[in-house]
Amino acid sequence: MSRTIFERFYEGKSGSFIPRNDCPVEGLDMLLTRKTPTSLPVVGEQEVIRHYVELASKNYHIDKGMYPLGSCTMKYNPVVNEEIAGLSGFTGLHPLQDETDVQGALQLIYDLESSLCEITGMDHFSLQPVAGAHGELTGMMIARDYFRDRKEDRKTVLVPDSAHGTNPASVVICGFTPKTIPSGDDGLVDIEALEREIDDKTAVFMLTLPNTLGLFEKEIKKIIGIVHKAGALVYMDGANMNALLGIVKPGDIEIDIMHLNLHKTFSTPHGGGGPGSGPVGVRSHLGDFLPVPRVLKEGERYTFFSDMEKSVGKVHAWYGNFNVLVKAYAYIIALGATGIREVAENAIINANYLMKKISRHYDLKYPGPCMHEFVASGRNLKQYGVRTTDVAKRLLDYGIHAPTVYFPLIVEEALMIEPVETEKKETLDHFADVMEKIAGEARNNPGILHEAPVTTPVRRLDEAAAARNPELCWPLENSE
């Protein structure tokens, strides 16, 4: 257990970091109204570094080993991208500088938008949303304003049960009513159910493609036809686009709106949960509704453009997570057309290879080829009193991060696994071997799994206690 930074307090001094004050303070009394102390930690620089280095040693991270987290996609993060994004020509920009001072930044935004259009077949992109779910919300706003503009009263959004959890949440935040469409036994959208539920009140059919079971909707053309015939729009959650790069362009198959998770598909480090970036793309009939400002190119000059009457407005105070855009941009130009396609091929081959290996010891509810991820089930281990959590915790003992567990909700004891394209065959073999070993332990010595993890900085943590009685901050009285 590490001491908290508040316990590292001593009667010491912080260093001096900011310029000497050459404008002495006078007459600021009216400002000084704070009564309680700020009670920040008071530790010297060396102690600060030691504290965070000690914490760092307690983290798993992609530079240490694989993250087979399905749906979360954590691949190798090219280290050169950090250097590039750290250039002061990018980090030092204020968002309200004159356009003439930020031509490089505007060009980057413009070119990244164009690349995303080429990759997805959409006509326009806005890079303003700062996360996948934020993109979903933006997409819903676009649909909302589109129907408002057409004076159509459409309030329902149909969401398959295999959709990501953020989808229905985004629908509600935007003021629509979500309605669940069940999947069939094959894990794909039940087309009859879709036909039954869709009507002239349906605004959007919101599809995760490939879905969270890692499956491509075979009947996608038919689905899109049904939705369009009803006068509704098709939204594609494109967070899983790494499976489709260079293989399918959603715009070409008439998806109307989609978002991308740049932090997954185009490799930007996730930093313990973000920042991310969730650009939204639309086909031309929806272009007018994108958030403002947009970037235009006039000759060799780039300018901001905000004069869009039908725009949904703004979803972020500025232009999105620009620093993340820089990394995605560097990644795309490094890979080029062939490299981009290679990502999808290797993601898919790796996933199918691993799925086959794992299926020897774990159930597969939906066998058959998957895309970049698949969902196995630990239900066959229940007979030994072993749950999926136990498998996950045991993996930690073997020095591997666990897959996503208990998601999607439609698979019992789910283990959602995404190897990603940057992992090498040997790594996958090792992972499969460890999974096999764990299945063996479950049969022969389930106690080991219940005890796991034993090699980690802390043992299994009591989440129930935390939820019952959350302790969200270090008590002031313990600080000194």
Partner: protein
Amino acid sequence: MSYVQNTDRDRKEMLGYIGVSSFDELIEPVARELRVKGDLKLGLPMSEAEVVSHCAALARRNSPASEMASFLGAGIYDRYIPATVRYVLSRSEFYTSYTPYQAEVSQGTLQAIYEYQTMITRLTAMDAANASMYDAATSLAESLLMACAIKRTDRVLVPAALSQRIRRVLESYSAGRHITIESIPWKDDGTVDLDEAERLLSEKAAAVILAQPNYFGLLEDASAVSSLAHGKGALLIALVDPVSLALVAPPGEYEADIAVGEGQSLGIPQSFGGPLLGFMATRKEYIRKCPGRLISATVDSEGKRGYVMTLQTREQHIRREKATSNICTNEGLCALAAAVYLSTMGDDGFREVALQSAAKSHRLYEMLSGLPGVTLPFGKQFFQEFVVRFDGPASRFLSRAKKSGILGGVSLEDDFPELGKGAVLVAVTEKRSLAELELFRDIAAGKEVRV
């Protein structure tokens, strides 16, 4: 460049093991007529050297504010970031870790974020803080949805002296939920018109938003706004500048129900406006209504202290359409930056940042008062940013300043035409020197300055 490690031989072996003869056969569920024909038009792959020189050339086409005497603010500030922040953030144990779904191997991230929550709680003097949101604008929008859910009313009052960019985010978030946003005008001195606020409160409202300081940099009578709101059964949401909280009364002291703000000032580069860090703090009774991640301390099976994400049943991956918000990926690394920044600065260092920003901005204000062709429409009740009005158009002053290497401020002509032509919002952080203030004054005075 390729970051894929499998060789052709690996791939062939794997396809063989899977039992297909080719990759095309493997993607059989994707009908052939749907597949992309030919290559994407993205150009040839580049080597690392080429990527670096291409991107560096783009970066050179920019003139970063951080390398000039910048008086730009309006929500994003040019502050000094101690080296410890970059050092800790550049450690891949932090920046290449994922959301801490497996707590036992994520104690570093979890403890750091727990400590971040603690620091935000102390700065705001509130009971609890969440673990990072996208930015101030979206945090405020989420707090508005939260207030409407708590009060079951969909009308909120917002100061007219609010960033128009934030205002537009509030509007796009509210439109679908039929939340009505009404503006409380400002008085001649630039602060909230309390009589108007009272009149607007005669009809039921879920919340009153207080911007402290407001968009013009002015400090409001927070207690008065608070009692007004509470007296009429509305919640008080405070939008605060975290640095100002080293000096001015924090939201907890005037009994705000929710406090939100922008954490960019806490160790995060300007980066053209993103990534930023939204923060949100609230009272105990509203924790379960609060959006975003929360980290809690707990114990492990041996009774050892540890940390987990908690109250996840509020979140989208479990509650789906009943979730308190849709936030999944947040700004975890930015929250870490803020924690390292505040740990490094400590109480005294942090207070010094605030004091110097206040002192230097007030010094500039003094230096400008009485200059011919310059008006200061509002008084001295400001923290580090104030409005100045030039006789000519704002752009004339700003371009003259620019010629001398100064970014003179943000023109208010478009967003607040009622302030008259020539209105500029000027921010002075701790990074500005007396010499730079003098240069600013000379330009404002119409002197020819050469640098």
